[in-house]
C-alpha cells in the first residue's frame, strides 16, 4: 500500500496540457483500487485546484471580457 503523501507541482508552473493530463491521471487513480483513502482528500484538493486553473486559463472573467470588448469596439 502506498502510504506516502503525494507531492504536486504548483499548478501555475504547469502548461494547460500538463494540467489536463494530470487531471485525467488523478481521475483514473480514483477509479482504480490504487487510491489510498488517506490520500483521497489530497487528490481531491489537487484535482479541484487543477480544474479551477484550467478553467481560469480557458475563460475570461466578466471584467476582462468587458475590457477586451471595449478595446475592440473602440
Amino acid at each position: 500500500m502506498n502510504t506516502e503523501k503525494p507531492v504536486f507541482v504548483p499548478v501555475k508552473e504547469l502548461s494547460y496540457t500538463q494540467a489536463v493530463n494530470e487531471l485525467e491521471a488523478i481521475l483514473r487513480l480514483m477509479q482504480s483500487d490504487e487510491c489510498d483513502i488517506d490520500n483521497l482528500t489530497a487528490y481531491t484538493r489537487r484535482a479541484t485546484e487543477l480544474l479551477r486553473e484550467c478553467r481560469g486559463r480557458l475563460t475570461a472573467t466578466d471584467e476582462e471580457l468587458r475590457a477586451i470588448l471595449a478595446d475592440i469596439e473602440k
Binding site: 496540457t17 489536463v20 484550467c54 475563460t59 475592440i72
Partner: protein, 432 residues
Amino acid sequence: MDAAALTLLQLNQRIAGLLNVAATQNVWVVAELSDVGVRGGHCYMELLQKDPERGTTVARARAAIWASNWSRISAGFKAATGQEFATGIKVMVCASAAYHPVYGLSLVISNVNPEYTIGDLVRRRREILVRLQSEGILELNRRLAMPEPALRVAVISSAGAAGYGDFLNQLYHNSQRLRFTTCLFPAVMQGERTAVSVMDALDTIETEADRWDCVVIIRGGGATSDLIAFDDYALAAHVARFPLPVVVGIGHERDVTVLDYVANLRVKTPTAAAEWLISQGGRALERLRRIGGELLQSLTDRIAGHRTQLACCEGLLPTASGACVERSASQLRNRVEALAAICSQRILPQTVRLDHLADSLGNRAMSAIERSRIKLDGKEALVAALSPEATLRRGYSVTRVGGMAVRDAASVPSGTRIETQLASGTMISVTE
C-alpha cells in the same frame, strides 16, 4: 518641298490606315496582365509577354477595354474564373490594333476567353503543388498538431478589413467566455505585394513563436477577391514550413488556392475561422466539465464504498467476538482429541509389547526354577544313594575303635573293643 512633307497627323493617320487590316483586327492573343486600372469606366492595362526562363519582358503593348464592353467582360470573367480581371494573371483576349494620332498604338480588347485563364491558374497551382511535394514540404504544416485549445492567435490580415473585424467580433463575443488572446500582424492582402507582405508578417510571428498557439491568415472579405496572389510558391513554402499550425480563411468555397493545400486548416471565411477556434475551446471546456463530473462521481462512489464497508464491519462486530471465542474453543477441543488419538496410537503398541515381555519373562522364570528344582532333585537322590545310611542299608557296616573308622584289621590288636555300626543299631564286640 513643303508639298512633299506630311504633317505628323497625316503620317499618323497613314500608319493608322496601314494597321487597319484583317491581320491585326480581332485577333486572339495570349498575354499576361499588368498595371490593370479602371478610369472613367474604361479599363486600361499593359499586356506583357515574359521569357519563361528568365522572366524578362520580351513584348509589351498598351491595351484597353472600353466601358461599353468592360462591365460585361469583367463580370463574365469573374464568374467563370473566380478571379478579378487583374494584374498578374494570364489571359486570352480578342484584340484589334489601333493607332491613335495622339496616344499611339494600343490594343482594343473586345472579348476575353476565361477558359484560358482557368487552365493557366490550374496549371500554375499544380506546378507549385508538385514542386512542394517533390521538396517534401507539402504536408509539413498539415501534420502539425493543433494545440487544444488554441487560444493565443496571431492574426495576419489588413487592419481595416471587414473580415478581420468579423473575426475579432466572433472570437470575443463567444458565449462560453473563452479567453482568446490575439494580435494583428498587418499585411497587404491583395495585389502583387500580398505574398511578400504575408511572408514578412509570418517572419515576425516566428521570432515570437512561443507566444502563439497558431496563426490565422484571413482576408478582408468584400467582393474583391484576387486570390491569385496566394497561388505563390514562395508563400506556400513559407506556410508549409512554418513551425506553428496555420489556419487559412482567405476565400470562399470555390476559391481553392495553393495556400489552402499547405495550411494546417482551411476554412471558408474569417468568421468560420473564429467559429472553429471557439468550437475547439468549447471542446476543451467540455473535457474539463467531463473530468470534473467524473471526479465527483468517483469520489462519491469511493466514499460510499468505504462507508458501506465500515457499516458492514460495524454490523459484524457484536457477533464477531462470540464467534471468535467459539472458534477458539472448538479448535482447542479438536486439538485435545487429536492429542488423545496420537497418544493412544503411540502408547498402545508399547503396552502390548510390555505385556508380551512380562508374559515371556514369567514363563522363562518358571522354567528356570523348574530346571533348578529337577537338577536339585537329581542331586538329592545321588546324595541319598551315596549316603552312609544307604550303604549300611545295603548290609555294609562301619567298625570304629575309639570313634575312628577302622580301615585295616591289622591295626587292631586283639582284645580291642570295637564298635560296629549297622543300618539299624550298633554292636559292641571284642576282637580275638
